[in-house]
């Protein structure tokens, strides 16, 4: 239930991010000034924190998606619960921290 709910919540968040991303990139068609202005909003520490949150969302959704794909292929169905907690959450947290810590230090604290 936790895994299923998490996949849907992260999926919706990523959908929202996708629209935001496409909207920002589309500014390229309006020339370099417009694009640079749009990108400037993403330099603030708040947005850097949101980027860290995005990393977490992507990692969870991707690793859980791999688990679901494996289950659909009939691999690891009996061990799916362990797959979720050890791989999706365990490995996910490690990958997240590997990215989030440097991002936090260099982009948010601006050391």
């Amino acid at each position: 239930m936790v895994a299923w709910t998490l996949q849907r919540v992260t999926g919706l968040l990523l959908l929202f991010y996708l629209f935001l991303h496409i909207h920002t990139i589309s500014k390229l068609s309006q020339g370099p000034a417009a694009f640079n202005e749009a990108m400037a909003t993403f330099h603030s520490p708040l947005f850097k924190l949101l980027e860290i949150a995005l990393l977490g969302t992507v990692v969870l959704h991707a690793l859980n998606g791999i688990r679901i794909t494996l289950v659909d292929l009939g691999v690891g169905v009996q061990k799916q619960r362990q797959l979720f907690w050890i791989v999706t959450v365990g490995v996910g947290v490690l990958v997240f921290l590997a990215g989030a810590i440097p991002m936090f230090i260099f982009a948010v604290l601006k050391v």
């Binding site: 239930m1 299923w4 679901i68 659909d72 292929l73 009939g74 169905v77 799916q80």
Partner: protein, 240 residues
């Protein structure tokens, strides 16, 4: 020293507008939720409505929602719930008859739809059917046929709640037993029902709630996954 728990039982229709009746129940040794219900029924309120039959986890009659998880009341030890308050509600996704007793009609409607009865391919055979020891049927069937039709899996699945026409885990698992059986002759009809894009196996999103609550320990999601894969490779699991 007497230990007590609070037993909250959903009422339907609600007497005096109270959706739940509360009882202080004295904890007895190895007390099950069913024991607690009986204590409340005998000592406090004889109008409490709940179902039971065998009391030993064999018949599936006493399936109820205990602290929001479908369980057999007779097989759930109160102390294992590790909770001061035990809330018993009717299984979700079923029409309520009285208090925590529900009608299993939605469950059996889907059960019937998969043609659960065995129909042999050939009529009367002169000899015994040979089932090889290394066949999928011989290996998998013992792990799938213990279903006591308690209805817990159907209650646990989010998708039966959203779509009353979805087959549900138990019906699909029953169908899987027939699909595996090389002697069965109903493969073609059954395949069409299982393969239905709106209400067949494709409505399963591998939530695994069914497997988590099955009191017989049947891996229901596994049955559904196997059928999905077999449907994508016609002729692999059975011959029409």
């Amino acid at each position: 020293m007497e230990l007590n728990i609070t037993l909250r039982v959903a009422r339907h229709p609600a007497p005096q507008g109270q959706a739940f009746s509360e009882f202080r129940v004295t904890l007895e040794d190895r007390m099950t939720v069913l024991d607690a219900l009986f204590q409340a029924h005998r000592k406090r309120d004889g109008s409490l409505g709940f179902r039971c039959s065998c009391r030993v986890g064999m018949c599936g009659t006493c399936a109820v929602y205990v602290n929001r998880i479908p369980r057999l009341a007779c097989s759930t030890l109160v102390k294992n719930l590790k909770s001061e308050i035990v809330t018993v509600e009717p299984l979700p996704h079923y029409p309520i008859i009285k208090d925590v007793a529900v009608s299993l009609a939605p469950f059996f409607d889907q059960w019937r739809r998969v043609r659960p009865a065995f129909r042999p391919k050939k009529g009367d055979m002169p000899g015994l059917a040979l089932i090889r020891k290394d066949s999928k049927f011989r290996q998998l069937a013992p792990t799938k046929r213990d279903c006591i039709t308690c209805g817990a899996c159907y209650a646990a699945c989010s998708f039966t709640g959203m779509n009353a026409q979805y087959l549900g885990p138990a019906a699909i698992n029953k169908a899987f037993l027939r699909v595996l059986d090389p002697r069965d002759g109903d493969g073609e009809e059954r395949t069409k029902i299982l393969d239905d894009s709106l209400n067949g196996v494709w409505r399963c999103h591998t939530q695994f709630n069914c497997t988590a609550v099955c009191p017989r320990g049947i891996d229901l999601t596994d049955s559904i996954v196997r059928i999905k894969r077999a449907l994508l490779r016609p002729g692999r699991l059975f011959k029409a």
